[in-house]
């Protein structure tokens, strides 16, 4: 049962000793106007982010009203301090509490090993009055894994150091310290007469009437297997589109910040008993996204990661993501999650200005972000940008070009190191934006396509040739003409053929009905049509002949015409023969015999004409 069975990291010990000495020397210099009549501290060590809530009852015993309360922290703690908040409530504990502004001060004569914060009271504390002050401090990196390297099967042990006494520049009348542990094994803790460990709660105290700057180091060495999720870097990009969407993209680089894994990782051990062989690892993270989040994705640079689950209700959307592999101590991974949010939930207008009102930190539970960069991408054309963040951040501006931008989108870049869930506060970005600017890109596209079509029309309709006198150009013109003429000639011949068909039809009618008169009439009509057609054909032929480009076609056309003439004659003679024979009431067989020769010729001619026509049309 030896206390301090495990040695502390040596450097730390030395600092603490030095501190204790200095505290003794400087105790007298502190002003004793204020007295802390009661101090209760509760330290929460259940996660890797250490939260200390100190409830102080401050009494003014001096003659003058006091307007600020000093809070002291050793530097070694102060450098891990991620957030500090103080709430005051007058007299009764039940009354309304107000948040006090806090600033770093360096009172004269104060030891350099201490960092002082001053909480400004809303109204000065009168003589003899007392005040309840709650101070919440959050520390990161305060749990040191010890041993620093463990195997897969080992539980993770961590060391926490603090003072059993409340370190204060004021005398403390009565105080107590409660440390809440996550449960599980407690390797050791600093034994003191009034220290006791009950149900994973370690209590020190009560102590009474301690002078200012009392310090009594205590060390707890215990098992903590909660995920030590540390984001080495997180870039959140919030892009506002006034078409109705706020798109959030978060790039994480996550590392397990606990004790490093040593030796091998055996999947069989991990799979068979994950809560024994792999107890120090974590395999999933939970992100609480705002309600009505949509189009959620989860991926990394080599593609989509399929292990994620999503639940949603009207209050929140919960996303459980599982990295590609379980994270053991020292292992790291990167991934990106993205989601869209409805615009009306996060962007509002006031006094003609619009403002974005959205939380600052990451949506992940219990994650420590070593470096957070929030980029708010405002729509193109936003002006008068102002940012209001409830804590100090580093601000800068840049320009992002995306989706057909011309001027680029203004980007507000906010950077903050050491971000914890307590920083998940709303911040505002005010800007002016004209709705007309929304239409800029659609109009640009419309104009672009319009111009493209106009260009096409112009190109098709205008003559783009450089020289109007060049032989090739003239030849082309002539060729076009020839083609048009040939097309018309073809049309003519189609008509000719139609007339031929009609003649044939009349003959067939004759054979059926024996009506000679109609047949004759048909012949007459055909004759007239032939004449008309040949009249029409003449000018076309002359123009075709005169054209120098028609040398290729002309012989064929000539051939065609002669063939057609021949066929016309043949048809007519056959027609008349048939009609004659009908008039003479010859037998069908005789008629057939008489016209058989002609019939054959006509068929051949017809075929030739058609092949010629086809040939011409192919040209």
């Amino acid at each position: 049962m030896a206390t301090m069975a495990t040695p502390l990291p040596p450097l730390r010990c030395a600092t603490l000793l030095l501190l204790a000495v200095l505290v003794g020397v400087l105790a007298s210099t502190a002003r004793a106007d204020l007295v802390i009549s009661k101090a209760e501290r509760r330290v929460d060590l259940t996660s890797h982010i250490v939260r200390v809530l100190a409830s102080l009852k401050v009494e003014n015993v001096g003659p003058d009203p006091v307007s600020q309360v000093l809070l002291a922290f050793p530097n070694i703690q102060a450098k891990n301090l991620a957030a500090i908040r103080a709430f005051s409530s007058e007299g009764n504990a039940k009354s309304q509490s107000t948040v006090l502004p806090i600033e770093v001060v360096q009172p004269s004569g104060a030891p350099p090993e201490l960092t002082f914060f001053s909480a400004l009271l809303p109204k000065p504390l009168e003589k003899g009055k007392s005040l309840n002050l709650d101070v919440l401090t959050v520390f990161t990196h305060s749990l040191q894994p010890f041993p620093e390297e463990i195997t897969q099967a080992d539980a993770q042990l961590v060391v926490y150091q603090d003072s059993a006494h409340y370190l204060s520049p004021y005398p403390v009348k009565s105080q107590a310290l409660t440390i809440r542990l996550p449960g599980g094994r407690v390797e050791s803790y600093t034994r003191q007469p009034n220290a006791k460990l009950v149900n994973s709660e370690l209590k020190y105290g009560p102590f009474t009437d301690l002078p200012p700057f009392s310090y009594s180091p205590v060390i707890v060495h215990f098992e903590n297997n909660n995920p030590f999720a540390v984001a080495k870097e997180l870039v959140r990009e919030i892009e506002i589109s006034h078409w109705g969407n706020v798109q959030i993209t978060e790039h994480y680089n996550i590392v397990h910040g606990g004790a490093r894994l040593k030796g091998e990782f055996s999947r069989i051990d991990y799979q068979s008993r994950p809560y024994v062989r792999g107890v120090s690892s974590f395999r999933h993270l939970i992100a609480s996204l705002p309600p009505r989040a949509h189009s959620i994705y989860y991926r990394d640079e080599i593609g989509n990661i399929s292990t994620s689950h999503l639940w949603g209700d009207s209050k929140k959307t919960q996303l459980e993501i599982e990295p590609r592999f379980p994270l053991f101590g020292g292992w790291q991974t990167t991934f990106t999650i993205g989601y869209g949010l409805p615009l009306q939930d996060f962007v509002f207008t006031s006094d003609g200005k619009r403002f974005l009102n959205i939380t600052f930190g990451a949506p992940m539970e219990e994650i420590l972000i070593e470096k957070l960069t929030v980029k708010v991408v405002l729509p193109e054309g936003s002006k008068d940008i102002e940012v209001s963040v409830p804590f100090p951040v580093k601000q800068s501006q840049e320009v992002k070009y995306s989706h057909l931008d011309i001027a680029g989108r203004p980007v507000v870049v906010l950077e903050k190191p050491g971000v914890i869930p307590e920083h998940n506060l709303y911040f505002q970005v005010y800007y002016r934006f004209n709705n007309i600017s929304l239409l800029r890109e659609p109009m640009m596209l419309i104009t672009g396509f319009f111009l493209l079509f106009v260009a096409c029309i112009v190109y098709m309709r205008t003559d783009m040739s450089i020289s109007k006198n060049s032989p090739s150009y003239l030849a082309k013109l002539q060729w076009d003409e020839v083609q048009a003429t040939v097309q018309k000639i073809e049309g003519m011949f189609e008509q000719y053929l139609g007339v031929h068909d009609k003649l044939e039809a009349s003959l067939r009618d004759l054979s059926r009905t024996g009506d000679i008169q109609t047949c004759k009439a048909a012949r007459k009509a055909a004759d007239a049509q032939f004449k008309e057609l040949s009249k029409e054909l003449k000018p076309l032929l002359t123009s075709l002949q005169s054209s120098p480009q028609s040398y290729q076609i002309w012989p064929k056309v000539e051939d065609l015409i002669s063939k057609e003439r021949e066929m016309q004659e043949k048809l007519m003679t056959r027609h008349s023969t048939v009609v004659d024979s009908f008039e003479k009431k010859l037998r069908g067989q005789d008629v057939e015999n008489r016209i058989a020769q002609q019939q054959q010729k006509i068929a051949a001619l017809r075929q030739e004409i058609e092949s010629l026509l086809e040939y011409i049309s192919e040209i």
């Binding site: 990782f265 999947r267 080599i302 048009a484 009618d509 068929a603």
Partner: protein
């Protein structure tokens, strides 16, 4: 001149309007075909995700990333030290840069327009975009040969031909995706030049050929096919000045441009694949000269000269084919793969060939030649099926278009007859029906055959009919007119024919969509299985690569079989020993030897190569068949080919490859076995391997020189770390030394490890 102009303007107005409407309809159809080609390839993105597929695309993707980050000059000079450790690889001089430059240019263009797309997205969608381009190029090519209708048909068929889909789904970022477009477009420009005789197109043709050379090693197909066609034209007496213009500039400009591509360089004039083009170039000039002096020669002399040329041409052609054939190392395809990849097109092709022969032009003879050579090459090597696909599509397009042409025309004709002279129809029913009867019997036969063999040699019956017709002409005088020289089928039969063709097309579309959705869309990097609970995703590869990239030092060397080299460098960004660019056989053999050696010898080989991690792929737990144990014999063979102390027989029991209790001790003690099955028995207590289907031979063993550092969720990838050398006591060291000496004397005269 003025008078006819006016009249033509008046009468041609309607015609022009109709033409314009046709043009717009055609453009719109082409647009839809492009959309179809693009969207049918998106199944992989919809069913899986937007991710690069398989192995080679990862390399191309990595090169593109480098290009977009460092610019073109850095790219040409890129010496990659993250692969083939310790040799490295000159990337700039050994890749076909076409695909990379294309995607890089698209990315650059989009980014300069401020459209923020990642390089990965551009790479994933490059293949579908180029498929759309390829279908448009097919339209142009077929249109040159057979007109717009056939062009549209061919474009639509190509947009969804499974053979091409297999290489160009979204994410399949490989050379072939771009190259097929370049191939078709080069052919189009060649045919266009042949048809127009324009030097402008000839120059474009050379540029397009240059793009093809940049894109794919298959450019040799072009530079052999075009000379063959030129030769064919010469032999068949189709020489013209257009042929000269189409070919001569292509050879000169194309060769000069091809020599600019680093990976080709002087090969463009020095290797045998290119000799064909030069020989034909010379022949062409001889022929040109012969034609020039033809007038001076007597016809007899000319004939002699021609026969000389023909014999030269033939001997040449018989010589050159084996050259290409010898390049192929791949297996010839099986019949089912033809049906899988080109489906009903295989049956439509003969019809297309016949249709091409009906009026044989330069362009259609080119199509036929392209098809014939492509069929030959695809028969030699299954990979070249890809070259066959466009030819098959074009000819099927021609066939279908011609078939529809005949059928719709006959319907139109019958309809107009029905409406126009319905009284006449009843009158001449006797001769008409008799003639129609003869046609019917003819055409029904041919039609039914058509539907059975899917080839509608629609012109064939017409030809036959025409011949018959002449014989019958005397007896049936009315026939020729009705026939209108083209086959006119009876109304019902035409409707039936159209319906059957539509069913056939529907069958093809269904098959293509199935192939795109089910057969060719798996990215192979993510596997899925469907069971009772729904879809189960196996994402082990990326899990392992992600682990490597985040939790190992950036300069660590990872050894694995070469299949995973490209992926490891691209996804995990770690240096590998060998990768899929299998240019150094000795190096691969070294890794193969290490994998097939016992643990200690393997450790020594790996240690001498600075290897820190060894990655093996193991499918025994979930039943993933293409794992390292199944590939292991290749490692033994390749390793044994260079280092003879590895003997394949040692790993086989009676000629059988097995890892169960019957396996040889050499097999059970080799590194690959141990790394795969380390602690595998603890999963189910028996060590049942689901791929091999039996219990493994050696179940309980320990690793002494390696330690497990990571195994993925389904055990598909296992990563081991080489243990550091132990501090040894002197005596032990001596003993070890003597041991190694004895072993080396045993293996005297044999190379054991080249790196020591």
């Amino acid at each position: 001149m003025a008078e006819p102009e006016v009249s033509s303007a008046a009468s041609a107005g309607g015609w022009r309007l109709r033409n314009a409407f046709g043009g717009v309809l055609c453009a719109f159809t082409l647009l839809l075909i492009g959309v179809l080609a693009f969207s049918i390839r998106l199944f992989s993105v919809i069913k899986y995700e937007s991710v690069i597929h398989e192995f080679d695309p990862y390399f191309n993707f990595r090169v593109t990333q480098f290009l977009s980050k460092n610019g073109i000059y850095e790219f040409w000079n890129w010496f990659d030290d993250r692969t083939w450790y310790p040799l490295g690889r000159v990337i700039g001089g050994t890749v076909y840069p076409g695909l990379t430059l294309t995607a890089g240019t698209i990315w650059w263009l989009l980014n300069s327009l401020n459209i923020p797309l990642s390089v990965e997205t551009v790479c994933v969608f490059t293949a579908p975009i180029f498929s759309a381009n390829a279908s448009w190029a097919t339209y142009l090519l077929t249109k040159e040969a057979k007109g717009t209708g056939a062009g549209l048909m061919a474009a639509a068929i190509l947009a969804m031909v499974p053979s091409y889909i297999s290489r160009s789904v979204a994410g399949s970022y490989d050379n072939e995706a771009v190259a097929i477009f370049a191939l078709i477009f080069t052919f189009y420009l060649y045919v266009k030049t042949l048809n127009t005789g324009s030097l402008f197109y000839a120059t474009l043709n050379a540029l397009s050929y240059f793009y093809m050379v940049c894109s794919w090693g298959g450019y040799t197909f072009i530079i052999n096919l075009i000379p063959m066609h030129v030769l064919l034209c010469i032999v068949t007496g189709r020489y013209s000045s257009r042929l000269y213009i189409a070919y001569a500039p292509l050879v000169i400009l194309g060769t000069l441009l091809a020599a600019l591509v680093p990976v080709v360089g002087f090969n463009a004039v020095m290797t045998s694949e290119h000799f064909a083009s030069f020989l034909v170039f010379i022949i062409l000039h001889v022929v040109a000269l012969v034609y020039y002096i033809k007038g001076l020669l007597t016809p007899r002399l000319f004939k002699v000269a021609m026969t000389f040329v023909i014999t030269v041409g033939l001997t040449y052609a018989s010589k050159y084919i084996p050259i290409i054939a010898s390049v192929s190392e791949h297996q010839p395809p099986t019949w089912p793969s033809y049906f899988m990849d080109i489906n009903v097109l295989a049956f439509l092709i003969p019809a297309g060939i016949i249709s091409c022969f009906l009026p044989l032009s330069d362009a259609s003879s080119f199509m036929v030649l392209y098809l014939v050579t492509a069929v030959y090459f695809s028969g030699v090597m299954v990979r070249l099926m890809l070259v066959l696909a466009p030819a098959a599509c074009i000819l099927s397009g021609i066939a279908l278009s011609a078939a529809f042409d005949v059928l719709t025309r006959s319907i139109k004709f019958q309809l107009s007859k029905l409406f126009d002279d319905s009284p006449a129809a009843s009158g001449d029913s006797s001769p008409e029906s008799s003639s129609a009867g003869t046609v019917n019997t003819n055409s029904t036969k041919s039609e039914s055959r058509t539907e059975k063999s899917e080839t509608a040699p629609k012109e064939k019956p017409s030809k036959k009919n025409r011949k018959k017709e002449k014989e019958v002409a005397e007896s049936v005088p009315v026939r020729p007119k009705k026939e209108k020289r083209l086959l006119v089928l009876p109304f019902e039969l035409s409707v039936m024919g159209i319906l059957l063709l539509i069913v056939l097309g529907g069958f093809y579309v269904v098959h293509c969509v199935w192939a795109a959705a089910e057969a060719y869309s798996a990215p192979s990097i993510v596997l899925t299985s469907r069971n009772r609970d729904g879809l189960h995703v196996f994402d082990d590869f990326r899990e392992a690569y992600g682990w490597l990239s985040h939790n190992t030092d950036v300069d660590d060397k990872v050894a694995s079989w070469w299949d995973y080299g490209y992926q490891t460098t691209a996804m995990a960004n770690r240096t590998v020993i060998v990768d899929n660019n299998t240019w150094n056989n000795t190096h691969i053999a070294t890794v193969g030897t290490a994998m097939s050696s016992p643990e200690k010898a393997a450790w020594e080989i790996f240690n001498s190569l600075d290897v820190k991690y060894v990655l093996v792929v193991f499918g025994g737990l979930v039943g993933y068949p293409s794992d390292d144990i199944n590939k292991f014999l290749w490692m033994v063979r390749i390793g044994g080919g260079v280092f003879p102390h590895i003997k394949e027989a040692d790993y086989l029991r009676d000629g059988n490859y097995r890892v169960d209790a019957q396996a040889t001790p050499t097999m059970l003690n080799c590194l690959m076995y141990k790394l795969c099955y380390y602690r595998f028995v603890e999963t189910d207590g028996k060590g049942y391997d689901r791929v091999r289907g039996y219990e493994i031979g050696k179940k309980h063993f320990k690793l002494t020189h390696f330690e497990e550092v990571f195994t993925t969720h389904h055990w598909m990838v296992r990563i081991y770390k080489l243990k550091p050398q132990k501090n040894r006591v002197r005596g032990k060291l001596k003993k070890l030394k003597s041991n190694s000496k004895t072993s080396s004397t045993l293996a005297a005269g044999q190379k054991k490890n080249p790196w020591q």
